[in-house]
């Protein structure tokens, strides 16, 4: 009985922390909106909220990273986006989180490398989806987006490491 109670308490704590992180992600989305990165090249975003997924992955919580990232994408599409933007960000979000979750197991890569790979995959998937919607022409945009993915990914990975040093999440 007591173990079941403890289990329940743990689950509630988990839910509360995930919800907190999810709302933090949405605030990050707004902060990102204030930084005019799309002036450098159209469509480029920092993706600060992915640092939360990196934070969870550093803690070894793959399920949590998926839960927070996917609910963050759904919520921000509901609040600010359109069905189209949901399709783009959901596909890219799922694939990049999956890649990060696999790569974090590699001892050779630090979270920065994992985040770089995730960022590049995210952009590649978006171009892939866009090629169905807009046409083959968008593939020409991939090289620029890949460089952006490497730079933003490194920054986000570093941010994730900083977060993991500051915030102790234990269940």
């Amino acid at each position: 009985m007591s173990s079941k109670q403890g289990n329940n308490r743990n689950r509630i704590k988990r839910l509360a922390i995930y919800s907190l992180l999810c709302s933090l992600c949405i605030v990050f989305g707004y902060v990102e909106f204030l930084i005019p990165t799309s002036l450098i090249a159209p469509g480029i975003k920092l993706g600060i909220s992915n640092s939360i997924a990196i934070l969870l992955l550093i803690n070894g919580d793959i399920g949590g990273a998926f839960a927070v990232n996917i609910s963050r994408i759904l919520l921000s599409a509901l609040l600010f986006g359109s069905p189209f933007s949901l399709l783009f960000s959901l596909c890219a979000g799922i694939v990049s989180t999956l890649v990060c979750a696999l790569l974090i197991k590699l001892p050779a890569l630090s979270p920065i490398g994992v985040s770089v790979a995730g960022g590049v995959c995210h952009n590649a998937v978006q171009v892939f989806v866009a090629s169905f919607v807009v046409g083959r022409g968008v593939w020409f945009y991939l090289p620029i987006l890949t460089v952006a993915g490497v730079i933003c990914g490194a920054a986000i990975g570093f941010l994730g490491i900083v977060f993991s040093k500051k915030a102790k999440i234990d269940f």
Binding site: A108, A117, I144, F158
Partner: protein, 107 residues
Amino acid sequence: MKILKKTDVILSISLILISVLGFFIVELMKKDGKTVVVKQNNSVVYEGKISEDREIPLKHNTVKIKDGKVFMKCADCKNQICVKSGKISKSGETVVCLPNRVIIEIE
């Protein structure tokens, strides 16, 4: 936990190198266009060879073809984005004037 490992640097640099290479391949793959198509309100108003120099006056815009390159010479719209977008000559490139719904395409 080490913040940056050797593999991270190798991964990042190789990704950047691949995309720089990709960028040059994309630039090389662009072929010189042959025909100029001008559309207004989604209907074709002019179609002709890019090698023939000429000026095409439209209601609100003037399109100019010169030395195998096409550009919007002038437009009466406020933003002048189409005029500023410069000369195009490669297949698939476009100049768009959204306020007047004019598109120049190269095929």
